[in-house]
């Protein structure tokens, strides 16, 4: 009798501690989200009065936006392995993490949206894009596809939560698959269009061409898998079986995507060699010039080769630390490669005007942009943590409040 009471007391104390811990995390998350938004807005205001970097109109804000957008959409492609292609893991482990994966995609896209909104000069006139939509503009389509992508992710997440308690949804045949296919269509549309935002510019020979959309898709899969594996690992680090599954699964994704990405990268460089005289100087600087240490050191060795080795080890030994380290390195390399891709062609900007002209502008982001950028990075984990606390994302977990909340 006494022992029973002590046991109940222990459980109650443990539950209360858990609740207190969750409340603390929720409060910290909300504070950090507000801080991120505040920093972003302050950075935007600062950017208005700071000296403009006219030579590089698309700076750190666009790099950060591209990075987060690729990670969010790439995560969505990784999710489709479960939602469309039906892979559930050897013992159905994937069921335990899929809702976290969908929430990761949705929460990550907000960081991209924050940066792209604050990066334009008049963010409060953003709705003009939809009001005066110009069909030939890639950015106009970007806005349309992002709206579609965000909406479909919300629908997918809500469906996954609601289906746990609404039997009616289970009865509608193929609804889950239809939603998943629409999410994948939105994802591919976003990628292809994002590639063409850069790739359709004849003024920027180093970007120009049809290959950028393919490059972005491969890069996105790597970044998406790396990002979601990190965040899900934080939530599920106590489940050893799941950790073993995740190590193997994500290592497998890296081992498939990294070689294909490398193939595209090689193809791009070889194409640049045979391309116009305005293209090669950019890649020459990247491969052999001032950017070579970053390219070979961070983007290739740290960002691709070491992750491959770690992924092989993680896959063979089901090693969590190897998979997690590979994810961190992939994110670092992935970010730097976007930085090089977007900034370097603007710094050099080779063009023929009577003779071949190459500018040599050295870009350093202004303080306002740095603040916006840090804001987006703070928003990224904070929003994810808050969602993980308020949405029922566990397998079989039913919503208790307002249809979708825990």
């Amino acid at each position: 009798m006494e022992g029973n009471k002590v046991g109940m007391l222990k459980t109650e104390v443990k539950n209360r501690m858990n609740t207190e811990k969750k409340v603390a995390v929720a409060v910290i998350s909300i504070v950090l989200i507000l801080l991120a938004l505040g920093m972003g807005y302050y950075g935007y205001r600062l950017d208005l009065i700071e000296e403009q970097v006219f030579d590089v109109p698309w700076g750190l804000d666009v790099v950060g936006y591209t990075f987060f957008a690729l990670m969010a959409t790439g995560s969505s492609i990784v999710n489709s392995v479960y939602t469309i292609f039906g892979y559930k893991g050897p013992n159905g482990e994937y069921k335990k993490i899929i809702k976290y994966g969908v929430w990761f995609s949705l929460s990550t896209i907000f960081s991209a949206w924050l940066l792209v909104l604050l990066g334009i000069y008049k963010p409060f006139d953003f709705y003009y894009i939809l009001l005066f939509f110009r069909m030939s503009s890639r950015i106009a389509w970007m806005a349309a596809f992002y709206s579609f992508f965000g909406l479909m992710l919300v629908i997918e997440l809500f469906y996954m939560i609601l289906v746990e308690s609404w039997d009616l949804l289970k009865k509608i045949k193929y609804l889950e698959l239809a939603i998943a296919i629409l999410v994948l269509i939105a994802t591919i549309a976003v990628h292809s269009n994002l590639g063409e935002v850069f790739g359709s510019l004849i003024s920027m020979p180093a970007w120009y061409g049809p290959w950028l959309a393919l490059y972005f898709i491969m890069s996105a899969i790597m970044l998406g898998a790396a990002g979601q594996s990190l965040f899900i690992y934080v939530v599920k680090h106590k489940d050893n079986n799941l950790k073993a599954f995740m190590s193997r699964y994500y290592s497998e994704v890296y081992l498939i995507s990294i070689p294909v990405y490398l193939m595209y990268l090689t193809w791009i460089i070889v194409s640049a060699w045979y391309s116009r005289e305005t293209v090669w100087p950019v890649y020459q600087t990247l491969l052999f010039g001032s950017e070579a240490p970053i390219f070979w050191g961070i983007e290739i060795v740290i960002g691709l080769f070491i992750p491959v080795a770690l992924a092989v080890y993680g896959y063979m030994k089901k090693s969590s630390w190897a998979a997690i380290t590979a994810a961190v390195l992939l994110i670092i390399g992935g970010f730097m490669s976007k930085y090089s891709l977007i900034i370097l062609p603007q710094e050099l900007r080779p063009y023929v005007w009577l003779t071949l002209q190459i500018s040599h502008y050295s870009y350093f982001p202004p303080t306002g942009l740095i603040m916006m950028f840090i804001g987006a990075w703070i928003l990224w984990p904070s929003l994810y943590a808050l969602g993980a606390l308020i949405f029922p994302l566990e397998e079989g977990e039913k919503p208790k409040h307002l249809w979708i909340f825990k």
Partner: protein
């Protein structure tokens, strides 16, 4: 005498569906009068060294076959303007006369057009620039909200019924010729149609309506720095 009379000599008094400009490079002496006129006419942010038109100074070739060339640059007023097609809000518009202009109220400042222009003819007119313009021009400022700015052939500011940009009106050496490309007898049409006026970077396929005549330098001018 009406206000526009002094400019009647340019003969650009009738509306036209395709305005064009020819720059006779050999007649440009690099005095920058056009830059000054444009700056005052259009209140461009000279404090940031940003211009709607400017003159570049080139030294081509190696001694003894070298030469110095002044090359005025401005928006090429393309027939197929990349800036127009990429603008997401329709702020970049093609108005009467085929002139590409920017509606500053519709421009959200995404700077996609700045990236898309192959001639680097666009720049951001910032909030700070507007404040600065107020210091210089008082209440007569023509830029009200931040936007991307570019040459408009003085579409908004040229005196009534003249259709002649400030740079053309000011050019000391008569290097800039402006006129209607629809009129086969206009000087620009003749220079365009006889092939004397050449398009810079025609492989871009944008169809520039601003072209260059290398005139008496033809034959002496060697494109690839000394070798034919």
């Amino acid at each position: 005498m009406s206000q526009s009379t002094p400019y009647q000599g340019f003969k650009n008094t009738e509306p036209c569906s395709r305005w064009g400009m020819v720059i006779k490079v050999d007649q440009c002496m690099g005095c920058d009068a056009c830059v000054a006129a444009c700056t005052l006419e259009n209140q461009t942010p000279f404090w940031n060294e940003l211009w709607r038109t400017h003159v570049e100074d080139y030294e081509l070739g190696d001694y003894p076959n070298s030469q110095r060339v002044f090359l005025p640059r401005l928006c090429m007023q393309c027939e197929n303007p990349p800036c127009y097609y990429v603008c997401p809000t329709g702020a970049t518009q093609i108005v009467d006369g085929g002139i590409v202009v920017v509606d500053e109220y519709k421009c959200i400042g995404c700077q996609y057009c700045v990236e898309a222009c192959p001639f680097g003819a666009r720049y951001m007119y910032t909030y700070e620039d507007i404040q600065k313009a107020k210091e210089y021009y008082g209440n007569n400022t023509i830029h009200v909200v931040p936007h991307v700015d570019k040459c408009t052939f003085c579409y908004d500011t040229a005196p009534d019924n003249t259709y002649t940009p400030a740079c053309v009106r000011t050019c000391v050496g008569g290097a800039r010729v402006f006129g209607c490309l629809d009129d086969p007898n206009s000087e620009v049409s003749i220079l365009f149609n006889t092939g004397q006026a050449v398009e810079i970077n025609p492989e871009l396929g944008v169809g520039s309506k601003v072209r260059y005549v290398f005139g008496r330098q033809q034959g002496r001018y060697v494109k690839n720095g000394g070798e034919e």
